[in-house]
């Protein structure tokens, strides 16, 4: 999500890309960013992008004011720039091992560690227990792909205290290439959408 891009769309003066990539010139951004990531071609891995697609439709109807929406295949280093100026960022990812339709997990800003096993997981793996750790500390071995926790750590090293970061993990079960969303993931997606819509509206009401 680019402020300069939004400015263009709104017909405002285009300004500079640095408005969105250099905090010294940062233009105001929406306080909340919802960032769904995953591969739309791999079954339930599409949950993140599909949620964003649904939220975009709501925005077209005038809902979810004050919320920016972003989607990509995976988290990468430059996404830390998308966190600048936010109050709250909610990452959305497909998750294996959830008994509930979705869970909201805090993202820890922790020292990243290189752990080769991280790359093997087709999606977020969580333990559906009282204390859930969504591998926030892991840098993948290719370094092309980051976890939310690693992104938070890199952000804090470069720009200081990050915004409130959370991960909305949506229950998933199948990640085959070319597969459609599973029936269970479809239901979970709707539940997560309803929760997110209420959550962001309540947050807005509190700010107002």
């Amino acid at each position: 999500m680019l402020n300069a891009q939004a400015g263009l769309a709104a017909g405002r003066p285009s300004g500079s890309l640095l408005h969105c990539i250099d905090p010294a010139h940062a233009a105001p951004v929406a306080p909340i960013l919802v960032f769904g990531y995953g591969n739309p071609s791999r079954g339930d891995d599409a949950l993140g992008p599909l949620l964003i697609e649904r939220l975009r439709r709501l925005q077209a109807l005038g809902q979810l004011a004050g919320v920016d929406l972003l989607t990509d295949f995976q988290l990468q280093i430059e996404h830390l720039l998308d966190l600048l100026g936010r109050e709250r960022v909610i990452f959305v990812d497909a998750a294996l091992g959830l008994s509930a339709p979705y869970r909201l997990l805090p993202v820890e800003t922790a020292q990243p560690q290189v752990r080769p096993e991280a790359q093997r997981a087709p999606a977020l793996q969580v333990q559906d227990a009282a204390k859930i750790q969504p591998e926030p500390r892991v840098l993948s071995w290719t370094s092309h792909r980051l976890t939310p926790g690693a992104l938070a750590h890199l952000f804090s090293a470069l720009y200081g205290e990050p915004p409130q970061l959370e991960l909305l993990a949506i229950g998933a079960e199948a990640f085959e290439l070319g597969a459609a969303l599973s029936a269970r993931a479809e239901r979970n997606l709707t539940a997560a959408e309803n929760w997110l819509r209420n959550s962001t509206n309540q947050g807005r009401a509190r700010r107002d």
Partner: protein, 525 residues
């Protein structure tokens, strides 16, 4: 063809060390070393453990889908595949000359792609080795360490990458998997507002690009003797150049030079690539080994990518990058620079070139023109070639009368570099590992050599149906009883036990579940 250290005489008697996965590269690869009882390296191989099958997937698809479809080959350089396919499709619709607007928009997209890719590779993947040393603690030798210790360098790297992606977004419609280039032209120009947006920051981008070149020069000069020797491999070089011999990334003719810089062929039509180049298949790797046909497989292998391009060209068409090129080539004292680590330096000269080329293009009114498409008489064969960030990229398509793809052949940059990467790791193994107690920092030197080529291993693997496969009959104790092997050329052979090492390599290749954490399993076999 078999080079020294490629195949040991008695692999079954040797200890096996695996570096798996090779880290800080795109895709999944591994290195196997076979050592004798005294720790002398007898065999070193880089294996590619993914297969792609894209040529097969796209058969039967309509040609106009190709520029969008082939981007799915790669999450790192989709724009290169997008543009190479679009160039091939231009020929399928009979267009040999794009409109000025289409040409400039595509060039802008391409320079943005190369800029962001080079920034990602240098700052994110390679700089930890160069800033902290090859033997730095593995927990620190990564991008997080760079950010902690060199935040301004890291920040500039991130911003350069971001700027390149914004160029891509504006020219192709999306930051990833856009659709700007279509057969015969582009589907949108750059609006004056978008142009001004990019123009506002190009001065800063140029400053950062110059700082990046200054940084690599400083790092290289500080370790000049060691870097000159490290993974230094004499090889032929292949790249595109323009009609005057100038560096050319988007379009041009093929030039190949030998290890002394003498021309092998020049101004060769890209459409003749199949006559100029051949590919060899080896049973232990899913990646082919290309070579210059006239020289044969033993002497004809070559390198592509930044080092080949900067060595091959006569000049660069922008002043800052040209000044840096002259400084760079003076290292070779009249011969091509051959040190693998000099590839990083060459890469950043290209990054600077892209920044300058973008600045120049942003002043070209054609960028915002209205003539987007050209037309011609359709043909049934198209060959698109360009210089992707990692090297020369070939897309070759043949279609039937209904416009459906009948045949496709893609030769990606990393495949061209297969042999030179293998030679590099063998040189490192001989010079730095031979006879020594192996440790993680020592093994990292192998990875440093591979990383210099910025390989995209997921792009570079065999087409479906050409993949070597084997069937092993193993007894209850896990001993190999019999083996049937299908080579990539279709030959099916029964193998004897002397091929055990190849079998083990390919068995591992097929078993990704066995790969993670193998760096901890030194000498496990």
């Amino acid at each position: 063809m078999s080079s020294p250290l490629e195949t040991a005489a008695h692999p079954e008697r040797l200890r096996r060390v695996v570096i798996d996965p090779v880290t800080r590269v795109e895709g999944h690869g591994k290195v196997t070393l076979l050592l004798d009882d005294e720790g002398h390296v007898r065999q070193a191989r880089l294996h590619i453990v993914e297969f792609r099958g894209f040529e097969k997937f796209i058969q039967g698809r309509p040609y106009w889908e190709l520029p969008v479809l082939v981007q799915r080959l790669c999450g790192i350089c989709p724009v290169s595949h997008h543009l190479a396919a679009a160039k091939a499709c231009d020929q399928l619709v009979g267009v040999d000359q794009l409109t000025a607007t289409a040409e400039q928009v595509r060039r802008l997209m391409h320079y943005g792609q190369v800029l962001q890719s080079h920034a990602l590779h240098f700052f994110h993947l390679a700089s930890p080795d160069l800033l902290f040393g090859f033997d730095d603690a593995v927990a620190h030798r990564n991008i997080a360490g760079v950010i902690r210790q060199h935040p301004e360098i890291a920040r500039q790297g991130v911003l350069l990458r971001k700027y390149g992606q914004e160029v891509i977004r504006i020219t192709s419609g999306k930051r990833i998997h856009g659709s700007g280039a279509i057969p015969g032209g582009v589907n949108k120009a750059v609006s004056p507002a978008e142009r001004d947006l990019l123009r506002a920051d190009i001065g800063r981008v140029l400053e950062w690009a110059q700082a990046a070149v200054a940084l690599i020069k400083r790092l290289y000069e500080a370790e000049r003797t060691a870097f000159d020797r490290f993974a230094s491999v004499a090889s032929n070089s292949l790249s595109l150049v323009d009609r005057s011999g100038q560096l050319e990334l988007y379009d041009g003719a093929l030039r190949a030079c030998d290890a002394k810089g003498r021309i092998i062929f020049d101004q060769a039509n890209c459409g003749d690539y199949a006559r100029l180049l051949r590919e060899e298949v080896k049973p232990w790797s899913y990646m082919k080994f290309p070579f210059i046909a006239a020289l044969g497989p033993e002497h004809g292998w070559y390198r592509v990518g930044p080092l080949a391009r900067i060595n091959n060209c006569d000049r660069i068409g922008t002043p800052l990058a040209e000044a840096e090129r002259q400084d760079f080539v003076s290292m070779g004292h009249g011969q091509p620079v051959r040190a693998a680590l000099a590839t990083h330096w060459a890469r950043l000269i290209e990054l600077l070139y892209c920044a300058e080329a973008i600045e120049r293009l942003l002043d070209d009114p054609a960028l915002s023109g209205s003539e987007l498409m050209a037309e011609g008489v359709p043909r049934q064969c198209g060959i698109g070639v360009l210089e992707a960030p990692r090297g020369t990229l070939f897309h070759h398509y043949e279609i039937d009368a209904n416009g459906l793809v009948r045949k496709a052949n893609l030769i990606v940059s990393t495949t061209h570099n297969n042999q030179v990467m293998n030679e590099s790791i063998r040189q490192v193994a001989r010079r730095y590992l031979d006879g020594r107690q192996l440790t993680e920092p020592l093994l990292n030197q192998i990875e440093v050599a591979i990383r210099a080529y910025d390989p995209c291993l997921s792009c570079a693997t065999h087409a479906l149906g050409q993949m070597p496969l084997q069937l092993d009959l193993v007894d209850a104790d896990g001993r190999l009883e019999d083996r049937l092997q299908r080579h990539a050329d279709g030959r099916v052979l029964c193998c004897d036990a002397a091929d055990l090492a190849d079998a083990a390599d390919l068995a591992d290749t097929a078993d990704l579940a066995d790969t993670a954490g193998a760096r901890d399993r030194l000498g496990a076999r």
